[in-house]
């Protein structure tokens, strides 16, 4: 075997696995589906080479990173899964995408050379720039409202709110009509080539515009731009809107109206466990509402149930229902920091096959939307 062959085992230190099964014991997927992170690693160790990539179970992982968070051997399990999926994809295998591959297709289309997107239609009435040092990376928000039409997720409200927050502090962000999907979902579903094509396009565009700092309103964009683009040579500063807002509030640059409504926070796995950002979103919420924690919070937070739009099914719904019930137990509003968490939770709340959701009286709202509302209230 060559080093290249066993890249997933080598680079993730999977060989440190002591087969204690702690990962499986905490994995939210293992509780409903035939799946064991420990056995995946064991297979890779026992059958070096591409065999493990043929195991259909690799697509069950949410890459939520709860397993790595508790692994005594520090195995980077989600990166292991990413690399194995990449190998599987190269062999012509793929997971079943929950939106019939629609989102994956969109992302792949965006990697194409000639592409005419009408992705800035929502900026009307907002103060945005054509070029400059600070960019708002919008991500797939302009597409989500169309794809998830029947859910009415209104994800563009997140984009508008983000710009409103920046505008309120006197920041005029660049919003590029040539922006493409960050490539997150392609990267995590094994299509590394298409991901790299998207990444390069975005990086070139940022260079062309003279961007030094990128603000995202999506936890997945945040992780991808701040960690994965960096591996490809990106050197711009990346901040999630909650981080930017926390600083602006601290500096007194935003006037907000505090409300006494009880809200709780869904730590997005990409912002929390993947990036270690836990406190700034909380700092923001504390300034505008009453923050109440769910029992599972910060690094212990539960996943929203779907990763990279793969394998949404009955078990994902169970994870979501559990989380929504947990949120309902402490607050009337669940704040998200990733548009995808919001889509998945709203989907579960509207799912007629889940009779229990009827009793859940819960508003799901993004942190940018919540803050923008509070800015409006602050004006009055």
């Amino acid at each position: 075997m060559t080093a290249e062959k066993d890249a997933p085992v080598e680079s993730t230190k999977a060989y440190y696995c002591v087969e204690c099964g702690k990962c499986t014991g905490i994995c939210p997927v293992s509780r409903g589906l035939e799946y064991s992170p420990r056995r995946m690693v064991k297979r890779a160790l026992e059958e070096p080479g591409p065999e493990v990539a043929r195991d259909g179970q690799i697509w069950n992982c949410l890459t939520c990173k709860l397993c790595s968070e508790v692994c005594p051997s520090g195995v980077d399990y989600i990166d292991f899964i990413r690399l194995v999926r990449s190998r599987a994809f190269s062999a012509g295998l793929s997971g079943s995408c929950s939106q019939g591959g629609q989102l994956n297709t969109l992302a792949r289309l965006m990697a194409a050379d000639s592409l005419s997107q009408n992705r800035n239609f929502w900026t009307e009435g907002l103060d945005v720039a054509r070029d400059g040092e600070v960019m708002y990376f919008v991500g797939c928000l302009p597409y989500f409202d169309t794809v998830f039409d029947e859910l009415k997720p209104d994800t563009l409200d997140i984009a508008r709110s983000t710009v409103r927050i920046l505008n309120a502090a006197g920041i005029r962000p660049v919003v590029s009509p040539a922006e493409r999907c960050c490539g997150h979902d392609l990267l995590w579903s094994g299509n590394a080539d298409a991901y790299r094509a998207l990444a390069r396009r975005n990086m070139n565009e940022m260079k062309r515009l003279g961007v030094k700092k990128v603000i995202t309103s999506c936890a997945e964009c945040y992780r991808t731009l701040s960690q994965d683009y960096r591996e490809l040579g990106a050197d711009f500063d990346v901040r999630h809107i909650s981080q930017v807002a926390a600083e602006l509030l601290e500096q007194g640059k935003l006037r907000v109206a505090a409300s006494d409504r009880k809200v709780t926070l869904q730590d997005a796995c990409r912002l929390g466990r993947h990036s270690g950002v836990y406190e700034q979103p909380r700092d923001v919420i504390r300034k505008i509402a009453q923050l109440v924690e769910m029992p599972r919070n910060r690094s212990a937070a539960s996943c929203c149930g779907v990763g990279a739009f793969l394998t949404c099914g009955a078990h994902s719904k169970k994870i979501q229902l559990e989380r929504l019930t947990e949120a309902c137990g402490v607050a009337g509003t669940l704040v998200t920091e990733c548009p995808k968490c919001q889509i998945h939770f709203k989907c579960a709340l509207k799912d007629k096959a889940l009779p229990d959701t009827k009793s859940l009286d819960l508003e799901v709202i993004d942190i940018a939307s919540l803050l923008a509302r509070s800015l409006e209230a602050g004006k009055r």
Binding site: T24, S30, P295
Partner: protein, 442 residues
């Protein structure tokens, strides 16, 4: 012959002090807390013989207090060490107890009278019992002298305690002295023995096991206090909130230990004490199911493997090779569920438990780095004190004349700590003898 300074009043320090004292050497035994005894005093029974821990230790503690060659310095810490082997000068900071040791009989009337009585978590019982601002750390404490907690005593903190100082009024011997000041001692010693033991890793950061959040999740040291006849519950294990005894117990091993991001090393005693603890459950409540979750069984000492085998076959303790991933709680009943991967099937399995006991990592004392600096000795990569040669010089620190004993050097059990302490005492004696010989020849 010069005196010897022993730092740390646990079983290792006690053994080293007694060995030297018996040889006619004068020993200064310095202990940071108000009583000697250390961790062994907190244990209920010892493995594999199931002897009562304090019953073995208490006579040795008393010997230390009574021995004409041993001077106890409790509430004290070493702040400087000048000179070299054979002629050290140590500075010892003796914190005020605010109680005159020559007058106090340890009768406890002051404790009864204290306004803070029953309001301060007791360190010895890990907060499972509450004490006052003036207190005796535990029943068998040596010296049997009360101690005033400066940070909690209303009078010492604010200069006022109601309309009168109740403890002072209660004390028939006038032993309470609020004006007592910290003292600094300069000690000329020929050798130093360091035996500062271990601390417990706080498992609250390991959210997966819910310690601090789930009422029925306990650390193994808390369990030792709970199962102990002189402990906070008189030796009865109580499940919250029913206060009934447990029907099912789970012991989770290697909590933060053998964990590359926490304590990568094996603490060397947990497999055995968990076995002992499970056997104790069975002795108290024969029908209670006991499951020990461990990754490897490390029963390396004499009679250890046999002890584990007895636990398995005679007592019916179940061993499962797994590290549980999570402990969850039924919010209504407070009953716990342990989630683990069944090693045979590879599937997630659960077991219900009334109490879960965490074998938390035993780590070098929090003050190790500071003490290493004071003493001018090196630490190893895990913050244990370093020996010059782990094979041939297992008690010599990196500074000549300073010797190591017990867990502070590397993980070990009680008999190993005692053996190393005797070794350190013998080595210290060599230094003194050499120095004395040198002086005679000069």
């Amino acid at each position: 012959m010069k005196d010897v300074l022993v730092i740390g009043g646990g079983v290792a320090g006690i053994q080293a002090a007694l060995d030297l004292a018996e040889k006619g050497v004068k020993v200064h035994l310095v202990e940071r807390t108000p009583s000697i005894g250390g961790r062994m005093a907190q244990l209920d029974k010892t493995f594999p013989t199931m002897d009562c821990s304090i019953c073995i230790l208490a006579p040795k503690m008393a010997d230390c207090a009574d021995h004409p060659n041993i001077r106890l310095h409790t509430c004290s810490e070493v702040t400087a060490l000048e000179g070299g082997a054979g002629k050290f000068r140590a500075t010892v900071l003796k914190h005020a107890r605010h109680v005159d040791a020559s007058k106090c009989t340890g009768c406890g009337k002051c404790t009864e009278a204290c306004r803070m009585k029953g309001r301060i978590p007791n360190e010895f019982d890990f907060g499972l019992r509450k004490r006052g601002a003036i207190y005796l750390p535990f029943l068998q404490a040596v010296p049997r002298v009360m101690n005033i907690d400066e940070k909690k005593c209303l009078f010492l903190k604010a200069g006022k305690c109601g309309d009168k100082q109740l403890c002072k009024e209660a004390c028939e011997r006038g032993a309470i002295d609020f004006d007592q000041k910290d003292e600094t001692l300069e000690l000329d010693v020929g050798a130093v023995i360091v035996a500062t033991g271990f601390d417990l890793l706080d498992p609250s950061a390991m959210f997966e096991y819910g310690y601090g959040r789930l009422a029925n999740v306990r650390t193994a040291m808390e369990y030792e206090r709970l199962i102990c006849a002189s402990g906070p519950t008189g030796g009865h294990l109580e499940v919250e909130p029913t206060k009934e005894h447990p029907r099912s117990m789970a012991f989770i091993q290697c909590v933060g230990a053998r964990d590359l991001r926490r304590s990568p090393f094996c603490c060397s005693v947990c497999c055995m004490y968990a076995t002992k603890e499970a056997v104790l459950v069975k002795e108290h409540y024969p029908d209670t199911e006991c499951t020990i979750f461990n990754v490897d069984m490390r029963a390396l000492g004499k009679g250890f493997e046999e002890f584990v085998e007895r636990a398995r076959t005679e007592y019916g303790v179940r061993y499962v090779r797994a590290r549980p991933g999570q402990v969850t709680e039924d919010p209504r009943t407070k009953r716990l569920t342990v989630w683990y991967e069944d090693p045979a099937t590879g599937r997630v399995t659960t077991m219900e438990a009334d109490i879960v006991v965490l074998a938390t990592a035993l780590v070098p004392n929090a003050g190790t780095a500071a003490l290493a600096k004071v003493l001018g000795i090196e630490m190893d990569g895990h913050s244990f004190f370093k020996v010059t040669d782990p094979l041939m010089s297992p008690v010599e620190s990196t500074r000549p004349g300073v010797f190591l004993a017990g867990y502070c050097e590397t993980p070990k059990d009680i008999p190993e700590s005692v053996a190393q302490a005797s070794g350190a005492a013998a080595k210290a004696y060599e230094v003194l003898a050499r120095e004395k010989g040198g002086a005679a020849n000069a």
